[in-house]
């Protein structure tokens, strides 16, 4: 990774520290600054409220010309998070064709928070969960809350 990229990540970390969005905590290791661990609270009023989710942010070598890679390390029942051991996300800003180099990680974190409040059904990675969200909201909420209890407490 280039010196420029490192400088940029350091700067972003500084900005995140100065103004951490509510409900998250960032663990940063200067020895391994391309991998951040984020602890995110389920937003109040959402089905994930009361849960604590561990996320991993990996900065690729080409950062910031390529977007960071985000994955949920805590299992979450969500149309935009892959329902496997990877817990990967690939939408909006996180897509290479959408991401622009001036975009910042903090914008990614805000995007994830807003998706926990309202999933993006049109760009779902899990079509069956998206469908349930659309057709049978009660069942979706029950499942999502159930997973919070099981995995995110």
């Amino acid at each position: 990774m280039s010196a420029g990229a490192k400088k940029r990540i350091m700067k972003e970390y500084g900005e995140c520290m100065a103004e951490t969005p509510a409900g998250m905590k960032i663990n940063f290791d200067e020895q391994n600054m391309t991998k951040w661990e984020v602890l995110m609270d389920g937003p109040d009023g959402s089905v994930y409220a009361g849960g604590h989710f561990k996320l991993e942010i990996i900065f690729p070598n080409e950062y910031p010309f390529k977007p960071p890679v985000v994955s949920f390390r805590t299992k979450i029942y969500h149309p935009n998070v892959s329902n496997d051991d990877k817990g990967s996300m690939c939408l909006g800003l996180l897509r290479p064709d959408e991401w622009k180099p001036p975009n910042k990680v903090v914008a990614v974190l805000r995007l994830i928070q807003s998706l926990m409040v309202e999933p993006n059904i049109d760009d779902a990675i899990e079509p069956s969960i998206a469908n349930e969200y659309k057709e049978n909201r009660k069942e979706f909420e029950k499942n999502a809350k159930d997973w919070v209890k099981r995995y995110a407490k």
């Binding site: 420029g4 990229a5 400088k7 940029r8 700067k11 080409e62 910031p64 010309f65 390529k66 290479p96 064709d97 622009k100 180099p101 001036p102 975009n103």
Partner: protein, 515 residues
């Protein structure tokens, strides 16, 4: 211009397919940017040069990379002079509207500013060429550098970044993401397209070639009447006027200069007589049912008489058991002697009477049997084509040895090559007749089709069988083999003409709806 009349009339004269469309590579006669004849590096497979076109053939033309680049440049120049925009801007506008020049001119005349804006060109780009500059107090929003000696760049939109970051951004887009015509400004949320002048200024020599290569690719990608030859490493593109909406009435097989035959509609290998949608559905079905059908295409079977194991090692379906000398058909396991007679029915699936299929289980068993009947034959021709080829290659080798010992000239074995190629082509056609037949609902035309299929199949088996003769006998069979080869080819033309004509007229009835 897209009316159905245009399409139907093509039956009378094949030219109409091309007359109604914007033939940008210069096929039309009245074009004022016609391609010079000298530019054409090779003879196109034009109807003027070959024999009269068959009903199943379509008009097409093959282009090499220089010709593609040339026609692209010509079109840019032409539109550039109409719009009064410089070539760089015109190229962006054309790419922006996917090389639809009529639409571009219309929209430009309609609202110049709007189209320029949406193409990322904003106010006239004619003046003020792009330039690299140093700006006091500048901080690069990508790398966070703020050195006052930093070279910076911005397009008209004003999103300024250091040149290094700009370059890196373009490098990532071009080299790694293969983008060219629609690279947007790196600025957050900015949709302005990076024009070629800016690119030339910023991008290193080695990347510039790649960029222009990608631009040329988008020219072909964007045009409905152009398609890259899908053969690996092939650099040719093919122009053909058949449109997507026509694909239920025509199967547009084209032949690339590299000798690859493919379908202009879907880029798959030649699949005449089956229309693209049928092919797609069939391949999906075969994939879904692959487990049930797998055992079928296995290469060994038991002799129906003595049960000893028999391996198929040539393409021919006429099997003779080594142990008991029983002769039978590999496909239907019936006695071979019955295959030459008029009641030979190996290709047709006999529907059982309705009384047998009253319950659901019986019905599903019957539908599986029906599928397997056709799949079996489809897979067999695919497999046999490979075996035919193997045996031909072996034969060719032996013939060469024979030539060396007997002093036969090279030209005398050419007929083997011709026969082998005809065999491959006919098997490819036969293979798809079975997918076609699977979806065919019976009507008064079905029987003619099945007869044609049977005749071609018999012709193919007869020719295929000759390859299994001992090599030292082959030279004596030359005339016979040439006759059988031309008979195969003739049967193929008859079958394809019949299916193509009726497809064009909408006479086939299918038992499913193709989407």
């Amino acid at each position: 211009m897209d009316s159905d009349d245009d399409f139907n009339s093509s039956q009378a004269s094949g030219d109409d397919f091309l007359d109604d469309q914007d033939s940008d590579l210069g096929l039309e006669d009245d074009s004022d940017f016609d391609m010079d004849q000298d530019d054409v590096g090779f003879e196109s497979q034009d109807k003027d040069m070959g024999p009269r076109k068959q009903a199943y053939e379509v008009d097409f033309k093959v282009f090499d990379p220089q010709q593609i680049q040339g026609s692209q440049d010509r079109q840019i120049d032409e539109v550039s002079s109409i719009l009064g925009q410089p070539p760089e801007a015109t190229a962006i506008l054309l790419r922006h509207l996917r090389w639809n020049k009529e639409r571009l001119i219309d929209r430009y005349m309609d609202n110049q500013e709007e189209i320029l804006e949406s193409a990322g060109l904003g106010e006239t780009a004619a003046n003020n060429p792009p330039k690299i500059s140093k700006v006091a107090g500048f901080v690069c929003d990508i790398c966070c550098e703020d050195d006052p000696s930093l070279d910076t760049f911005a397009m008209k939109c004003g999103h300024r970044f250091c040149v290094e970051c700009y370059r890196q951004y373009l490098y990532t887009k071009i080299k790694e993401e293969g983008e060219a015509a629609r690279i947007r400004c790196p600025g957050d949320g900015c949709n302005r397209i990076v024009d070629s002048k800016s690119l030339d200024l910023l991008v290193a020599e080695e990347l510039r070639d790649r960029y222009h290569e990608l631009l040329t690719r988008t020219y072909v990608d964007d045009k409905d009447n152009l398609r890259w030859c899908p053969a690996p490493n092939c650099v040719y593109a093919v122009e053909c006027g058949v449109k997507n909406k026509d694909l239920m009435q025509i199967v547009p097989t084209v032949h690339c200069e590299c000798s690859h035959d493919f379908c202009f509609g879907c880029s798959l290998n030649d699949h005449q007589p089956a229309p693209c949608a049928l092919v797609k559905m069939w391949l999906k079905k075969c994939e879904d049912d692959s487990e049930t059908a797998n055992w079928i295409s296995a290469n060994t079977k038991e002799c129906p008489k003595c049960n000893s194991t028999i391996e198929k090692n040539g393409g021919c379906n006429h099997m003779t058991c080594r142990k008991c000398r029983h002769e039978f058909c590999w496909m239907c396991m019936g006695v071979w002697s019955e295959h030459g007679t008029s009641w030979y029915n190996c290709n047709r699936f006999e529907e059982k009477s309705g009384s047998e299929a009253r319950d659901a289980q019986a019905k599903s068993r019957m539908s599986l049997e029906r599928y397997l009947h056709y799949y079996n034959r489809y897979a067999n021709h695919e497999q046999s084509a490979k075996l035919d080829k193997d045996i031909y290659l072996k034969t060719e080798k032996k013939m060469q040895q024979l030539q060396n010992t007997t002093g036969m000239s090279w030209i005398e074995v050419q007929y083997l090559d011709t026969a082998s190629q005809a065999l491959q082509q006919c098997r490819q056609t036969l293979k798809w007749t079975y997918a076609f037949a699977y979806y065919l609902a019976r009507n008064n035309l079905t029987e003619i089709f099945e007869d044609n299929q049977k005749d071609l199949e018999m012709a193919v088996e007869n020719l295929s069988e000759m390859f299994e003769k001992p090599v030292d006998q082959l030279q004596g069979l030359k005339v016979d083999m040439m006759d059988k080869t031309s008979y195969c080819t003739k049967r193929r033309v008859i079958l394809l003409n019949d299916t193509a004509e009726n497809l064009k007229l909408g006479n086939w009835e299918f038992n499913v709806k193709f989407s």
